[in-house]
Subunit: 269 residues, 2 copies
């Protein structure tokens, strides 16, 4: 039996740059599918395109409309192929209307001098020693992730008492466990609760407008990570007149950088 | 006489979604024009499109190839217009080949609860009390900015002695002064020296691959800012196998958030 993520990511080639997919109830959100999954599908269309060269370095996904349950079409077009990089444009449509746009840059990486300005978190308790956060039964997608909070879990009391910040540190992985790949990592980058829920200890209507992922992992590092938990640090930045942004870093179980990600989110009230 | 930025941003409508522009020697970089200027042109095509609705919330620009000096064509297409948001795809071409792709989200903002998780820097000396950094005479674009470093200027000694991080804090503005608008703010987001120069105290070949800007300013805040210096904090994240990422926050003279920005940069060696 295939993993629910592989079912949800499945795309059928329609010839040329076109693919067809279908929303998956296993990743349902309040309205339409979990955005991280939709972002992963956009990347998947690039990765399984026969013209693809290299591995992803950056991905930006813009969510233009909530997807309806059912089929969608994805067009992935290589607009420029250089010696070591390749630039892609992706559009997802339902009934002819654009629901998502994305751009991706792929590259063939070579070993170079490497370093971190962002140190990997240290002194962190092992995932195995922490309890899994209880799942929200009404949301299917949350059940697709095992989240173990070191700090900054979704507050028990949604009492509207404002907090001074919205930092979380957690271990997370696909549920059931699944070896990490670029698509799964993309979805993980959107699996953090919107910072405004933590900051305000209050649920307000929200929707991610745009998300960017910078991939620091290559295929070798992903293979080394396998199905282990990923360590993540997440924080909010600026909340102003209906839009806020948040960022996160994701680290392998062994402390190597997997991805850095930012997103801007619409909110009401 | 018009400001060099306005000259460089000028686009002639070619009908429909198409515009023509031309590189400007005033913003020349080592190869082709300064990337921040090219990013600003991509946004400008959206902003002056007759179908445009709202103000920019996010912009992602992918640099697919170095521009050659001379004319280029920009196509800006509104792929989805919702009640309060609008999604754009932008492509820039020279001689029929894609040199840049971009996506932008525009929105009509309304006043809401607002807050900062990222506090504005405090205790910062006023721009007027600081010396302007000397310009690098060989690069035209650097002369288009007045930069006053509080910390983390380009090191005097490029002696290859690695530094533990690459943080800069500076005041900067267009030179000569010019009222801030969305296009100018976009260019400012790319006006920080690549973090790897500071981290390694060494110049290595680099090129920005993708840049994202989240706009927190609206037109009213930009008008309040006018031609004053903008305060910026910039830092590096992860340098790994040929690509590194950096992020920055830009603040108004009065301490309001103008933009947050990230970019991923190719480097050799």
């Amino acid at each position: 039996m295939s993993h629910p993520l592989d079912t949800a990511l499945a795309l059928q080639p329609l010839g040329g740059d076109r693919f067809e997919g279908c929303t998956s109830p296993a990743y349902a959100n309040m309205i339409g599918p979990f955005g991280g999954l939709t972002a992963a599908v956009a990347l998947q269309a690039v990765l399984q395109h026969p013209d693809r060269q290299g591995e992803p370095v950056s991905l930006t996904v813009n969510f233009a409309a909530a997807l309806a349950e059912g089929p969608y079409e994805v067009t992935a077009r290589a607009v420029r192929t250089n010696r070591s990089t390749q630039h892609w444009l992706v559009e997802m449509t339902q009934a002819g209307a654009v629901v998502l746009t994305a751009t991706a840059v792929l590259a063939q990486r070579r070993p170079t001098w490497s370093a971190l300005d962002l140190p990997a978190p240290t002194g962190v308790p092992a995932a195995e020693t922490l309890a899994s956060a209880p799942n929200t039964p009404r949301l299917a997608w949350v059940q697709r992730y095992d989240m173990r909070f070191i700090e900054g879990g979704l507050p028990d009391a949604l009492d509207g008492v404002e907090q001074p910040h919205a930092h979380s540190r957690l271990w997370l992985r696909d549920e059931p466990p699944r070896p990490l790949d670029f698509a799964a990592l993309t979805a993980l980058c959107d699996a953090f609760f919107p910072r405004i829920y933590l900051r305000r200890r209050r649920l307000v209507p929200i929707g991610t407008v745009s998300m960017t992922v910078y991939f620091h992992a290559d295929a070798a590092l992903l293979a080394e990570q396998g199905p282990q938990h990923v360590l993540a640090d997440v924080r909010g930045h600026v909340y102003r007149n209906g839009y806020f942004d948040q960022s996160a870093e994701l680290w392998s179980a062994a402390g190597s950088p997997l991805a850095t990600t930012t997103q801007v989110v619409y909110y009401r009230e």
